[in-house]
């Protein structure tokens, strides 16, 4: 039984627009082998496994059937969450703190390239009575949200374009990223509208990949071969599942999730205390909406000034998405959050190569599950064993 929980190993494949040489099982096997090697453990030592997956992203019903073999989880406790990998981290933490497990593995992957009708699939997630009959391309929901977000906060389209330029440029220094590109905001502003005011270049492209994360209780973490990344805070929340009554300006799911995470991590002033932020940027404006929801900026005006001053760039005062984010790395569906965790762990360990930031002691990862959802999670990791358990 342990109150403190740490990440002691990560394994991941590079992110690719397609991975035709590997089945999803083979992709998972690769990431799992790397994670167990990194953690210095055998799968027989693992008490419990969590996969984050959605049936119809896989094209298989009851997908959890196909999860145990390639992770070494046969005849072990294993379950699926139909949520982002960060929800999986929260789940693992709760298992360990309840005393039911000491070593838990969280897996999430994407074979997005195998989905031949991705927009039709998202369409199938819309309310069948009130929304789906309109026959709208689901990106239109992002267009609607972006428009009212810009209108209410005073954030401008140029700021969104700067997010794209920043994140894709950051990805140049991340070897796993699928969409690195040195580009200027001009490039984004000349891209075509998908759903006004949302432009094509502001939408993260789906990619394939798999990430596996090993979490351990305090006793095991202190004996681990790598420097543990302590879980200092977790939070997850939903707003309404109904479009008609959810909040369209504020990302309330992120605000509720982060409040819990900050409380657990005893963080009073996140901007000063947290060194790097890996924030959902499925659409460029989402990064900005999320930064406000995370309490890092009081309003759009302050955020706008900060962007103009370059503060969220890799060499700025508060780097956001040094990994390249979803715009630069690509969007590996449920694995999105775990790739952000991977980035935090590498940065905390000082293993982030060309994009290593100096003096990283605390980092935050945040996820959102895409349209039409209002589901998100937050995880805060640190190098120091927390005084108060998360």
């Amino acid at each position: 039984m342990s109150d403190r929980v740490a990440i002691i190993g990560v394994g991941f494949t590079s992110l690719q627009p397609s991975t035709p040489h590997l089945s999803f099982k083979e992709l998972m096997f690769e990431a799992a082998q790397k994670a167990y090697l990194d953690a210095g453990i055998q799968p027989s030592e693992i008490d419990s496994f969590v996969t984050c997956a959605e049936d119809l992203n896989e094209g298989l019903s009851i997908f959890d059937e196909y999860t145990p073999d390639q992770l070494g989880a046969v005849q072990k406790p294993m379950h699926t969450l139909t949520q982002d990998g960060l929800h999986g981290i929260a789940d693992a933490l709760m298992q360990i703190r309840s005393g039911i497990a000491e070593l838990v593995v969280v897996e999430a992957h994407s074979k997005a390239s195998n989905i031949k009708t991705p927009e039709w699939l998202v369409d199938y997630a819309l309310d069948p009575v009130y929304n789906r009959p309109l026959g709208l391309n689901p990106h239109a929901l992002a267009g609607l949200e972006m428009n009212v977000f810009l209108h209410e906060t005073g954030i401008r389209a140029e700021h969104c374009a700067q997010v794209v330029a920043k994140n894709r440029s950051n990805a140049l220094r991340n070897p796993v990223a699928a969409y690195p590109l040195a580009l200027t905001p001009m490039y984004v502003e000349s891209s075509t509208y998908v759903s006004y005011p949302l432009r094509e270049a502001e939408i993260a492209e789906r990619v394939d990949g798999c990430a596996v994360v090993v979490l351990a209780d305090e006793k095991k973490a202190l004996k681990a071969q790598s420097k543990p990344a302590w879980v200092c805070g977790v939070g997850f929340a939903n707003d309404s599942g109904t479009l008609e009554s959810r909040d369209w300006v504020r990302a309330d799911y992120a605000r509720i999730a982060v409040e819990r995470a900050y409380r657990q991590a005893s963080i009073q002033n996140p901007r000063e205390e947290i060194r790097l932020f890996e924030v959902d940027d499925t659409y460029a404006y989402k990064e900005l909406q999320h930064l406000i929801a995370l309490g890092l900026f009081s309003d759009g005006a302050e955020l706008g000034r900060s962007i103009e001053a370059g503060e969220t760039k890799a060499d700025g005062k508060m780097p956001v998405n040094v990994s390249g984010g979803a715009l630069g790395m690509g969007l590996p569906l449920e694995a999105s959050g775990l790739y952000r965790i991977v980035e935090l762990v590498l940065q905390l360990r000082g293993q982030a190569g060309a994009r290593q930031l100096p003096d990283v002691r605390l980092g935050l990862a945040q996820s959102w599950r895409g349209v039409p959802t209002t589901s998100g999670a937050v995880v805060i990791l640190g190098t120091e064993r927390p005084n108060e358990p998360a």
């Binding site: 119809l56 073999d69 039911i100 599942g241």
Partner: protein, 391 residues
């Protein structure tokens, strides 16, 4: 803070129906509201919400957990949807148990919902897509195949007669006659069960649970809260779950090892050494008649191959030595997949509190076990509940 004791303090469910007027959200709300009412609690006293629901293909919604969130009470709350196929209904309680036991949350609302009637041409058709997409789906299998293949193996290995399996249908459908939510309660004879048409030999129609729409819900609370708000909490004494290989055609199907492992995980926590002596009431998963027997053996409540004999001897009747499926089970009450599993937890709650009305088993049961099963005959999920606080 470390592990805390957790109890079920409220339970509720909808009718189980062939086709419901209500939307999936409304079904979830009806059950959740009923569970909250039974605990005399309001939604704002709930710290987190756990949804259990089986394939999205039934309700006809991609990411159906996200769609269902407001129906489950997840509005601006921590909300998760957990999933282990047919094992989900019982697993969801294990999920909520560790969420509360961890100290992160004081109360949890667990909701399981399924609206299978949304699926055309027939809900069973959705099951084609549970098979391996490349090595099995081209053969156009259906769900009956795997059940029948497993039942054949079970019968052959232990020399079990079909009459002994039909007896499960008779018992459970009769037990369901007293259940206000039941879809298929009936007073039948073994002969009538065997006279129903063969679906997939050795499986006859009356040995198969129906497809259903419905929802069930329970409220969990940490020890201090449970003692404060509830006069007779049903304590969760142990939880267990286990997932076997997906390569089901490589496995011995006669005995569910994954159920045994899940059961021992739960029994260890509950401090149970001799399950047959220490458990008063069982709600094993019975989507098909033979599965109840199979699972009783996996749960260590009958020796391998001996469950049929104990059933014939009357041990598992409502007034028997070990009442099994007094609710009426999936065969009698209905089978809206995840909701059916959670219905078994609801039944234990009512039975342990002496509130099961005409279904009440005699002798004031002190401890019960509920179990569900799923995937490609692969998942065992187990919850042990009792009137005594766990040590």
């Amino acid at each position: 803070m470390s592990r805390r004791k957790v109890a079920v303090v409220g339970a509720g469910m909808t009718k189980f129906m062939r086709r419901a007027l209500e939307t999936p959200k409304e079904l979830a709300w009806l059950a959740a509201k009923s569970a909250l009412d039974s605990a005399e609690m309001k939604l704002d006293q709930i710290d987190c919400v756990v949804l259990g629901s089986a394939p999205d293909a039934f309700d006809g919604l991609h990411m159906k957990g996200e769609y269902l969130s407001d129906g489950c009470g997840g509005w601006k709350k921590p909300y998760l949807r957990c999933y282990v196929g047919g094992g989900t209904g019982v697993y969801a309680v294990a999920q909520a148990w560790f969420q509360v036991a961890s100290g992160l949350f004081d109360t949890a609302l667990v909701v399981c919902e399924e609206k299978m009637s949304s699926c055309l041409p027939h809900p069973q058709a959705a099951f084609l897509t549970i098979f391996d997409h490349i090595t099995e789906q081209p053969l156009k299998p259906n769900l009956l195949w795997i059940f029948a293949l497993e039942q054949t193996r079970y019968m052959q290995t232990y020399g079990i007669a079909l009459e002994d399996i039909a007896r499960v249908s008779v018992k459970n459908k009769r037990n369901a006659l007293g259940h206000p939510a039941a879809q298929l309660g009936a007073d039948l004879t073994i002969k009538e069960v065997l006279a129903s048409e063969v679906m997939a030999w050795p499986v006859h129609r009356l040995m198969v649970s129906p497809t259903s729409d419905g929802a069930a819900a329970v409220v969990l609370a940490a020890e201090e809260t449970a003692r404060r708000i509830c006069d007779r909490p049903a304590w969760i004494q142990g939880v267990g779950w286990c997932l076997d290989t997906a390569y089901w055609t490589n496995r011995d199907l006669a005995y569910p090892e994954y159920v045994e492992k899940a059961a021992w995980m739960a029994y260890r926590t509950a401090g149970i050494r001799e399950p047959r002596k220490e458990i008063n009431i069982a709600e094993p998963y019975d989507p098909f008649a033979y599965k109840e027997l199979h699972h009783l053996e996996g749960l260590q409540l009958a020796p391998k191959g001996q469950a049929p004999r104990l059933l014939a001897d009357g041990v598992f009747e409502r007034n028997g030595d070990l009442p099994v499926t007094p609710s009426g089970g999936l065969l009698g009450v209905g089978n809206p997949i995840a909701a059916a599993g959670l219905m078994k937890i609801c039944e234990l709650f009512w039975q342990l509190r002496g509130e099961a009305g005409t279904r009440q088993v005699p002798g004031k049961p002190e401890r019960g076990v509920a179990q569900a099963w799923g995937d490609l005959m692969q998942v065992g999920t187990v919850v042990v509940m009792g009137t005594k606080e766990p040590a």
